[in-house]
Each structure stands twice: as structure tokens, then as C-alpha cells.
Amino acid sequence: MEIVAAVARLRVANVLSPTQAALFDRVARRHLVSVRFEVRVLLYLGVVLLTSGVGLLLAEHHRELGPWVIAVAIGLAAAGCLFWVSRQAAPFSWDEVSSPNLAFDYVLLLGLLLFASDLAYVEAQFTLLGPRWTHHLLVVGVVYVLAAYRWDSRTVLGLALTTLAAWRGVSVVLISGSFGTGDASALRSNSLALGALYVGAGALSVRWKRKPHFEEIFANAGLLLVLGALVSGVLGDQPMWGVWLAGLLSTAGLVMLLAFRLGRSLYFAQGVLAAYVGLLRLLFAPYGRQASSLPLLLAALLGIGALTLIFAAHRRMTER
């Protein structure tokens, strides 16, 4: 309602041209409506259902159909999707390339997921990698990275980074509900190494101007892994938590400083939250299991300090 009135007023004041005013008025009155979001949701649901259906088919009927039929059928479906994508795609560029249409990203995703399913199935049936069968995730992750660069897909890049993390045993998927399985210190080391690699890749993307728009995907995944590993060390490593805390605070401080200079609010937020959680351990550690109001009061005061920092940073940061 405000927009309809404002467009009319701005037209009278000659701020908007007749063409501009006519278009804005149509949209404000819902005479022109975009269903872009709805088409995206349908495509996403379609891809999820299709790949789930294929997964179920393999799980239930792989004996009846035979391994060759299944492997070839899924391979053909994946190839079909990727062939369509390569026909539609614009030529490669190190700059951002717009998708030719809305479906492009999702058909690419479907093709790659079918490829990953096929590879897992072939490995399960024919044990090509033998005892190192989990390395199929490395292959899948690398193929995802190559596809993300060739076809300029942030979505596929995000999937590639989490797949590579899964290869090293680190789960960053919320629904799995854990930091991963297996030896905690090995997982932390993997997480730190991968996270540093991702952050470095993000920085180099910008510096070398090679898909610089991938920076936020690389850096957010990397920071989640690095800060997550450090927080896990502070909360979970009983004898060495002080060392982990020192590492966490220095890393979080560096992240906040760089985020402030780069104008990246999401990186800054991750740094603040990680540092706060780490400092909570410092506040509560002297009291052990003893109930005391002092650490809680200090935690509240620390929160007020964090809010002051947030307000000050927001006032001075030029967000990009």
C-alpha cells in the first residue's frame, strides 16, 4: 500500500519517469507477479525426490535388476543431465557467469548427484578401490569442484566442500547432529586443515580474480570448520583446553579484525560467537560442578561486552 502511494507521489514530483512509475505500480498492485521462488522450490523438491527414489530403487532392487543394468542406467541418466547442461552453458570465464535459465543449476545438481550415486554403487558392487573405498568421496568432491568452476555454481561448490569434509570424516550437516564420528583429535586436525585450505582458497580466488564471487562460499565453510574444531577442542579436550582456548581466541580475534576490514558481517558474527562460547568455558572452569551465580553473572556481563563490540563494529564497518 505504501509503495502504491509512494509511486504516485514520486511520479507527480517527477522523481520517477512514466515508464518507471508504470512498472513499479504494476508490481506493487500485484498486476505483475514473480513466481521465481516457487519454480526454484519445485525444482529443488523434484531433484530431492528423484534422487531419493533412485536411492531407494538401488537399495530394494539391486539384486533383481543386476549391477550392470543399474550402473549403466544411472550413468546414462547422469550423462543426459550433464549433456543438457553443457549444451545450455555459456563459455567458461573466470568471472561470474549468469545461469542461462532457472533450471540450469538444478539439472546440473541432479546430474552430479546421479553420478555420485552411480559411483558409490559401482564401488559397492565391484570394489574398485578395495580397502580405500571411502576415497570415492574424494573423487566425487573433486568432480563437484571441477563442475562448480566450469559451470559457475555456488550450490555445487558448497556441496563439493562439504563432501570433501565428509571424506575426511567431518560432518557439517546439521541433521547428522554431530561433529562427526571417530577419533575426536584426528577429526579436529582434519577440520582445521580443511578449514584453513578453504579459507586460503577463498582468499586466492579474490587475489587472483579467479571466480572471486566464490569467496564467501569458501570462507564461510572454512571458518565453520576452523572455528568449530577450535570450539570442540575447548569444550571437549579435557587436559589441553587452555591451549585450544588460546588458539580459539587468537583465531577469532584475527577473523573479526579481517572481517571488519573486508566488510563481511557473517565472518565477524562467526568470530564473535566462537570467542563467546570459548570464554564461557574459561568462566565456568574454576567452579567445576559447583553451582555458583558468579560465572553466570560474568557470562551475562561478557554478553553485554559482546553487544557493545557488535554495535561499535556495525557503526564503523562498511558492509560489502
Partner: protein, 396 residues
């Protein structure tokens, strides 16, 4: 809402629209500045990341302070409500102060204080009724649900968060579900709420956030109506589970006529909502209709096994992808890239932000589960594994 807050919100609406026009290249920087000058919004409006961060830290401060007081005075169950009421008062006063300041109103802190204020009021009331006043659990639950509908409704009316309208409506429906004729009340109240709220969606006298709250109420009303008439809900007596503990909770099994009417309603209601969306050209109704249609198809599959599950999933997935491709292609190739006033173009929304946001659900649902490299290196032989990708987890 205060008159000042409403006028700030109206100016913010225009500024936000102008930002979208600028982003889409429909206006130049000079025009954008002229619009901002004409509709000056005095409020500091940080991005969603800043607001979420502020809300999280405010929540930490409130809960830690409450915990500190609780540990310090160790109140009995009879005194605990007083502590909750004191904190509720502090939170509500803080909200009033924050909302009155253009520098602080939209930073996320007011949202957190108002939310926790409402929660503490309800916790205090619940504890007071059950521990201090000693009334029965049933009556205490009824009173808290009714109070919840009122508290969140008042919070929405005073400060504007549309989410509070949703809390209020859900509380009201839970309260109505406590009655023996709860299902009928859900049908009546759901239809009435959707109809009444729909009349306010374009009411210029209402603040923008109140109109958004009206949209939330429409969706909640339609959702409640659908739950009440859904054949699975009737068959499994899901709503009857909400009834008072003291009443006879086992309702008689639905008769054949009721079952048929319910089955028809399950099929028809999503189509009615989709028709309503088409007629009113509101995308939130379109989204609601699509969601209800999906639930109806799942309900159909539950009762009618037309094919094995993998066939249903694959066929429905293929149909959805094909449908989306066809719609997008038809709209893209239509004259002016629109048909009957509908387009697949982004118009003035932030396309780049949506592309970044779409990474989250894809990564969350389609990343393969993590393998344990340690276990593998210790000699777990290649006896197969889980499928990587597609969200499938069939083991071999």
C-alpha cells in the same frame, strides 16, 4: 504500535522497494537518493546477520542473568514465578525503551527482549497456577494457552513482529483443541480467522508489519482448517489427542460419511487455496496451496498404494522438475517474458542473496554422511558403504 514506529516502518517499506529498484537497474543512484530524501527513515537498520547476532547475544545476556539470580537466591517453586514475572517486566520495559529509539528499534535486541518477556510471563503464570494456586493440570494448561494467545497477540499489536501473531494463533487453536468438539472448533475458527485476516491484507490503515501479521494469520487459519479436515488426522484422531486429560479422550471412530467428506475435503482444500492464490495473485497463498497439495498427495499415498515408494518418488520428482521446466520455459518465451501478469524473472528481489541462501538447504540435505577415516585406516575392508549423494542411505 506507536505512531512514530508506524511512520518509520512506512518510510522503510518505500526505501526497501527503492533499494530493489536500484539493484535491478530500474532507477539510477540519483533517483534512489531522491527517494530516500523524500521518505527519510530515521532508524538504523542493520542487515539480517547483524540482527540475528544481536538477538543471540541479547538472549545469552537474559538467560545468564536469570540463571545467576536463580542460583543466587535458590527460590522455591512458590517463589520462582515471582522471579519470572520480575524478569518478564524487565524484558518488556526494555522492549518499550528499545522500540522507542530509532537507533535501537531494528537491531534485533527488541525482538529478543519481547520474545523472552512473553516466555517469562507464560512460565511464571504456569508455575504460579500449578505450584502456588494448586489448580489442576488441565485448568493450568487451559489458562496458559489462553494467556499465550493473548500475550503474543498483544505483543504483535504493540511491537509488530508477525511471528508473534503466529504464536498467538497456534496457542488459540491448541486451546480450542482442548474442548470435546475441538475438531469442529478448528474448522470454524480456522475459516473465520483466514477470512477476517484476509480482509486486512491490503488495509492501508494498518502498519506494514501488522499486514504481514495478517498474512501469517491467514496461513495459520488455512493450516488449522486443513489439519481439521484432513482424512489422516480424522482417522488417527490427532486433534482428539489435544483434549483435556480428564475428558474421555477416546472419541468414537469416524463414520463412513465423515470419512468420505474428510477425504474429499483433503483433496479439494488445496485446490481451493490455489484458486484463491490465482484470483488474489498472492504468492504466499500459492506457496501454502503447493505445500497443502504435497501433504494431500502424501496422504493419498498412505491410503492408496498405487505403486512402490521408489516409483512414486521418482515419478513425482520427474513430474515436478518437468513442470517447473515447462513453466519457466513458457514464461521466458512469452511476449514481454510474462503471461497473464506472471513472470519467472526476479523483478526487484535480491537474486544474488537468494542464490547464496539456496546453498544452505542443498548442502544440509544432499551432502553424503561423513566417513570415519580412522576406522577405515585401521582396516575396515571394502565391504561396501552408503550411497554418497542424493540423500540416499541404502546400505550394501
Amino acid at each position: 504500535m506507536k505512531r512514530d514506529a508506524v511512520s518509520w516502518e512506512r518510510a522503510a517499506e518505500v526505501c526497501e522497494a527503492a533499494q530493489g529498484w536500484l539493484r535491478a537497474g530500474a532507477i539510477d543512484e540519483a533517483t534512489h537518493e531522491a527517494i530516500r530524501e523524500a521518505y527519510r527513515d530515521p532508524c538504523v537498520t542493520p542487515s539480517q546477520v547483524w540482527r540475528a547476532l544481536t538477538a543471540v547475544m541479547t538472549t545469552a545476556v537474559i538467560l545468564c542473568a536469570l540463571g545467576a539470580f536463580h542460583v543466587a537466591i535458590r527460590p522455591s517453586l512458590k517463589v520462582l514465578p515471582v522471579l519470572f514475572f520480575l524478569f518478564a517486566t524487565a524484558c518488556l520495559v526494555a522492549t518499550e525503551r528499545l522500540e522507542a529509539s530509532p537507533r535501537l528499534a531494528r537491531r534485533g535486541a527488541a525482538g529478543a527482549t519481547s520474545f523472552w518477556g512473553g516466555v517469562f510471563v507464560l512460565l511464571g503464570l504456569g508455575l504460579f497456577l500449578s505450584a502456588t494456586a494448586g489448580i489442576s493440570d488441565d485448568s493450568a494448561i487451559d489458562a496458559v494457552l489462553l494467556a499465550s494467545a493473548l500475550v503474543w497477540g498483544a505483543g504483535c499489536w504493540r511491537w509488530g513482529p508477525p511471528l508473534f501473531a503466529g504464536f498467538s494463533a497456534v496457542s488459540l487453536f491448541l486451546f480450542l483443541g482442548r474442548f470435546p468438539s475441538g475438531r469442529v472448533l478448528w474448522v470454524l475458527a480456522g475459516a473465520a480467522l483466514a477470512a477476517v485476516a484476509a480482509r486486512r491484507l491490503d488495509d492501508a490503515a494498518w502498519a506494514p508489519s501488522h499486514r504481514r501479521a495478517a498474512a501469517v494469520l491467514v496461513v495459520t487459519g488455512v493450516g488449522a482448517l486443513y489439519v481439521a479436515v484432513n482424512v489422516y488426522s480424522l482417522d488417527e484422531q490427532l486433534l482428539e489427542e489435544l483434549q483435556r486429560f480428564s475428558s474421555a479422550r477416546i472419541a468414537p471412530a469416524p463414520g463412513r460419511f465423515a470419512f468420505i467428506v474428510s477425504a474429499v475435503a483433503t483433496a479439494v482444500l488445496p485446490l481451493v487455496v490455489l484458486l484463491w492464490a490465482w484470483a488474489s495473485r498472492r504468492t504466499f497463498l500459492l506457496d501454502t496451496g503447493i505445500a497443502l497439495l504435497a501433504v494431500s498427495l502424501v496422504t493419498l499415498r498412505y491410503y492408496v498404494h498405487v505403486a512402490p515408494l521408489w516409483v512414486v518418488l521418482t515419478v513425482v520428482g520427474a513430474v515436478l522438475v518437468t513442470l517447473a521446466l515447462a513453466v519457466e520455459r513458457a514464461l521466458r518465451r512469452a511476449p514481454g517474458r510474462e503471461m497473464a501478469g506472471i513472470t519467472a524473472d526476479a523483478l526487484f528481489s535480491d537474486e544474488q542473496r537468494q542464490q547464496v541462501l539456496q546453498v544452505v538447504p542443498v548442502v544440509a540435505t544432499l551432502t553424503p554422511p561423513a566417513h570415519s577415516p580412522v576406522a577405515v585406516e585401521k582396516g575396515l575392508a571394502g565391504s561396501g558403504g552408503q550411497f554418497g549423494g542424493g540423500g540416499a542411505s541404502g546400505k550394501f
